[in-house]
């Protein structure tokens, strides 16, 4: 019950923010979520026997969001610079046998949590960006719900018992099917939504590309979930945090998004490489 209520409250806020929020507000919201998730991630990483520089990592995350807002093309130098800063600081701050672990865990946190969330303002700034993000949210959420309910009722074959004992192949398949069906319904009801949102829609095999995109995002979402589960299990932790009532931690909520967002971005990059149409 708590889970449904939290979802009902968050979903409209997220959608409203996505479509009507000014760019600076979107960046701030993503930065806040990233910092919360990063804090949880760092706690989990530390539980495996490290001592990551918490405040430095968070500070670097905020700086990265600021740079991403102002000049996104500087993200590569900024990102790698952050990694080197972490390395150098850990060299002197951590005992020698922990330097590599502390620096690597912290940098991986920036990669896993900060980079995907920094893509949200960038995608939104593109033409029909908000619609593309909405599509991603629909794919991830419907996949999640389908996997949960079908997995509970029909789940038999374990997907990855070492990583996540609750997940089944039936649930995974249902997730895929659920995403595809939901998007198909949306495109059927709002045909202009798809053609406006994606350049490929106007190409001869546009529908096929669309299907591939949905499948890719869904698989990435499921993999993201498994990745986070593996990290938690390795640390002996069940929930990433207790911030959201009924939902565990922030990291738990967004873990599927963390791999799905880059996949959407790569799809947009590929689309732009092949599109002779104006950008």
């Amino acid at each position: 019950m708590k889970r449904v209520l939290t979802a009902l409250l968050l979903i409209p806020i997220v959608v409203l923010l996505l479509f009507f929020g000014p760019p600076w507000l979107i960046t701030i919201a993503c930065a806040v979520v990233a910092c919360l998730a990063l804090w949880e991630y760092l706690a989990i990483a530390d539980a495996t026997g490290a001592s990551t520089p918490r405040w430095l990592t968070l500070g670097l995350a905020i700086a990265l969001f600021a740079i991403n807002f102002d000049s996104p093309s500087m993200m590569l130098p900024a990102f790698t610079g952050a990694g080197f800063i972490l390395g150098v600081v850990c060299t002197f701050r951590s005992p020698v046998d922990r330097v590599l672990r502390d620096a690597s865990f912290a940098f991986f946190g920036l990669l896993l949590v900060v980079y995907p969330l920094s893509l949200i303002p960038r995608i939104r700034a593109l033409d029909a960006g908000a619609s593309q993000l909405l599509l991603l949210l629909v794919v991830v959420w419907t996949g999640d719900i389908a996997a949960l309910y079908v997995g509970r009722s029909f789940g038999r074959n374990k997907l990855a018992p070492q990583i996540s004992p609750g997940k089944t192949w039936e649930g995974a398949a249902a997730s895929l099917l659920g995403s595809v069906i939901s998007i198909s319904i949306i495109v059927a009801l709002f045909p202009s939504f798809f053609s406006r949102t994606f350049l490929v829609a106007s190409r001869p095999h546009g529908a096929l590309f669309g299907l591939l995109l949905v499948v890719a995002i869904n698989i990435a979402a499921q993999l993201g979930d498994l990745l986070e589960s593996a990290i938690k299990r390795g640390a002996g932790v069940k929930d990433s945090g207790t911030l959201l009532p009924g939902h565990g931690g922030v990291l738990d909520r967004i873990d599927a998004m963390l791999l799905a967002l880059p996949v959407l971005w790569y799809a947009l990059v590929i689309q732009q490489l092949f599109a002779p149409l104006s950008f």
Binding site: S71, P72, S73, R122, A125, L126, W265, L268, V269, Q271, Q272, L273, A275, P276, L277, S278, F279
Partner: protein, 276 residues
């Protein structure tokens, strides 16, 4: 006489204008007429008057010409009122007089424009003008935003090259922020450039009129006049009337527009050559 556009009121033309208008072909009316309003100063000097008087009469000429344009239902009229170079190179006293003239002109004319169903828009680096002028401009465009007839565009603090620079900057930013910058840069087209100009919402001018006989373009609508017919008259702007606009259109209708291709007559001759 058939009306060329749904919002024309040809019956309101003066008898002199009507006489010229009857000789025009309603199917070949230009959609967009641009005018370089040159000669206010020289007109005044000729009559041993001060320059500002020429500017004042120039403003009255604007009134007359736009009224005629609205009556014959010209969809777009663009007037080169004040250039970037004017702003920088004319004496400060003249510039502030022109700003004051603009404000009082707009304040007085908006009512007439609403009556003539004219929609007022502005192009140029408006944000570099004094704040009070910007406010008047915003008010005037909002007040006439609901008009469905002729769109009158005033080019203020405008420069063709600056317009292109602003467009390039916008496109460069879009390319830099896109998912694949190198691919986006290679994909920039003429349509993209046109879309980032101040005039993105209008068709290119069919006819460019310049008064006071000077044979140059003076940095006006450089990109947009690529295929415009140019009409130059010796008349100074304060003497320019609605009838003269119609004469310019008559001259325009006598021309053959080829857009870089072959004309009808030349096409026959060329295909003859190829056949033998």
């Amino acid at each position: 006489m058939p009306s060329p556009t749904p919002f024309s009121r040809v019956e309101e033309l003066s008898s002199e204008e009507l006489a010229i208008y009857r000789k025009l072909d309603p199917n070949r009316m230009p959609r967009h007429v641009a005018i370089i309003m040159d000669g206010n100063g020289r007109w005044a000097n000729q009559r041993s008057l001060k320059r500002f008087f020429g500017h004042q009469r120039g403003a009255e000429a604007v009134r007359g010409v736009t009224e005629t344009a609205a009556r014959i239902g010209l969809p777009y009229v663009t007037l080169y009122a004040f250039s970037l170079e004017n702003n920088l190179r004319r004496p400060k006293a003249e510039v502030s007089f022109l700003m004051g003239l603009l404000k009082s002109y707009l304040a007085a004319e908006v009512k007439t424009m609403l009556r003539n169903n004219i929609r007022l828009t502005f192009i140029g680096r408006i944000h570099e003008l004094p704040k009070d002028v910007q406010d008047t401009i915003t008010w005037a465009s909002q007040a006439t935003a609901g008009s469905t007839g002729t769109t009158l565009t005033l080019a203020l603090n405008y420069g063709g090259r600056s317009e292109l620079v602003d467009a390039v900057r916008r496109i460069a930013l879009q390319v830099a922020h896109s998912a694949a910058p190198e691919a986006s840069a290679a994909a920039v087209t003429e349509a993209d450039v046109a879309r980032n100009l101040y005039t993105s919402q209008m068709p290119d001018p069919d006819l460019l009129i310049r008064t006071s006989g000077e044979q140059r373009v003076s940095n006006f609508l450089l990109w947009q006049i690529a295929y415009s017919e140019i009409f130059i008259t010796e008349r100074y702007w304060p003497d320019f009337r609605g009838a003269h606009l119609l004469e310019a259109i008559a001259d325009y209708q006598g021309r053959e527009r080829r857009y870089g291709g072959l004309g009808d007559t030349l096409e026959e001759a060329a295909s003859d050559l190829v056949r033998t």
